[in-house]
């Protein structure tokens, strides 16, 4: 249904094949969150994976880093229409966390310090597709951007990359998290423009 907006030409003349539809390339790094920024100390930080038996698999900060931190260069796409390309991150692959977790459940609710939640299918977190990120652009992740650690799921819109992540809870069915109950899409693939429902 799109039509030409009278008088509009736009700044960026080259269509960029790396940009999903409706996205604009930015060089700064905007912030999207629904409330104040939680401050979490790595001395008390922990990450928990809870499976369907209710058993908890726990890592403290050193335990997380001991799993092995890798370098990743990825593009990120925010639902508010900005993208950053070729961003350098460091983090622990979610595959490493799941090595010893036995679960039949196919969905995950990511919980954050501060209370936010977002749902992600397990298959979107495994096979080298997601990390627990601790550094971006060569610096420790700042609290505004989800530090000390956030989930990094770059192939989905960036709200799925839960800031201040503290737990992954296995679920039998896909249930909407905080952002999804407030109008964002259950899945969030930027190439299919799964922004809102």
């Amino acid at each position: 249904m799109s039509f030409i907006t009278r008088g509009f030409s736009g700044h960026r003349r080259e269509p960029d094949p790396q940009l999903p539809p409706g996205q604009t390339l930015v060089h700064d790094w905007p912030v999207l969150s629904a409330g104040p920024t939680p401050r979490v100390d790595t001395a008390t930080w922990e990450l928990v994976i809870r499976d369907e038996t209710g058993a908890d698999h726990r890592w403290d900060w050193d335990g997380l880093l001991a799993l092995g931190v890798e370098d990743v260069t990825v593009d990120i796409h925010c639902v508010t229409h900005w993208s950053k390309l070729g961003m350098e991150w460091r983090g622990v692959s979610v595959d490493k966390l799941f090595e010893d977790v036995e679960s039949e459940h196919e969905f995950v609710m990511a919980h954050s310090y501060g209370g936010d939640t977002t749902n992600v299918p397990l298959e979107d977190l495994l096979d080298g597709k997601a990390w627990i990120a601790v550094e971006a652009d060569g610096e420790p992740l700042t609290p505004e951007h989800g530090g000390p650690a956030r989930l990094l799921v770059p192939h989905l819109y960036f709200w799925k990359s839960a800031k201040w992540v503290r737990g992954l809870v296995m679920m039998p069915d896909d249930e909407p998290g905080f952002w999804e109950q407030n109008g964002y899409h259950l899945h969030g693939d930027p190439w299919r423009e799964e922004r809102y429902w």
Partner: protein, 269 residues
């Protein structure tokens, strides 16, 4: 900060913060009916959107512009109006060298058509009659737009909730909705509720003002907002750096993180 236990996924950790959108977001075609100067650098856009389902106070929408070669640019704008009508009011401040806001401020004319997607956002909204807790609104610059929607709905609904707005703005020429805010804060509704309005001038105050000029400080924030002891629901909106600073100070002053809702308009933190 909240360090609550991991909750059951079925109930979630944030149920108190959840509110299902009442109106589904969709694409709409708007016709511009009026463009008028709002401040020294902003315009007010009055749009006629026949298919608009109405919106909550505080909601936003996406505006999508299309160039003749098919290039598109999309940005979010808060809706200054609220309720069931099909007239949608926006207020757009020019970000110098921006791609979309200078076009909307300088080039848009009555009769032009715009593509909109919305209404969006079910969390940064205020609905009358839901909660008797006092409401503190805190705006920086154009961040007043969604908060003005809340204050005017509060006034129109004669809602008895105590409402207060702290508005940080450069100069008297930069105040959005100046006349409307003045009358909301002046006129008591029939049950006596008014908007408490506090302005903080960051560059230049009106000649009559006894207040010092300068950025909003932690002390001014504490002195001119509803105290944490009264458990207000607090909405903060403005440039990212402003929102980060205010939300941090509010928590240090004893406000619970769960009582603070934020909307960040952009700019680097």
């Amino acid at each position: 900060m909240t360090q609550g236990a991991l909750t059951d996924p079925a109930t979630g950790g944030a149920e108190a913060r959840l509110a299902r959108p009442q109106r589904r977001a969709a694409w709409h075609v708007a016709r511009v009916t009026e463009v008028r100067p709002e401040t020294a650098s902003a315009v007010r856009l009055v749009l006629d959107v026949p298919t608009w389902p109405g919106n909550d106070a505080g909601a936003h929408l996406d505006v999508r512009l299309t160039a003749p070669d098919g290039y598109q640019a999309t940005r979010s704008y808060s809706v200054a109006s609220a309720g069931d009508g099909t007239q949608v009011v926006l207020a757009v401040d020019e970000v110098p060298d921006g791609e979309v806001s200078p076009f909307l401020v300088h080039d848009l004319r009555p009769g032009d058509q715009l593509e909109l997607h919305g209404p969006l956002g079910a969390f940064f909204v205020w609905r009358p009659g839901r909660d008797t807790r006092p409401v503190q609104l805190i705006a920086g610059g154009s961040g007043v737009v969604p908060l003005y929607a809340m204050a005017s709905l509060h006034g129109a609904a004669s809602d008895p909730t105590a409402f207060r707005l702290l508005y940080s703005v450069r100069t008297p020429q930069d105040v959005f909705f100046a006349d409307e805010l003045a009358s909301l804060s002046g006129a008591a509704t029939h049950d006596g509720s008014t908007l408490g309005l506090d302005l903080v001038w960051t560059r230049r105050a009106p000649d009559s003002s006894p207040d010092a000029v300068g950025r909003l400080t932690r002390q001014t924030l504490a002195a001119r907002t509803i105290p944490a002891a009264d458990r207000p629901l607090v909405y903060v909106c403005g440039p990212t750096g402003f929102v980060e600073a205010i939300a941090g100070w509010l928590q240090e002053a004893g406000h619970d993180a769960a009582d603070i809702r934020t909307e960040r308009f952009g700019g680097t933190p």
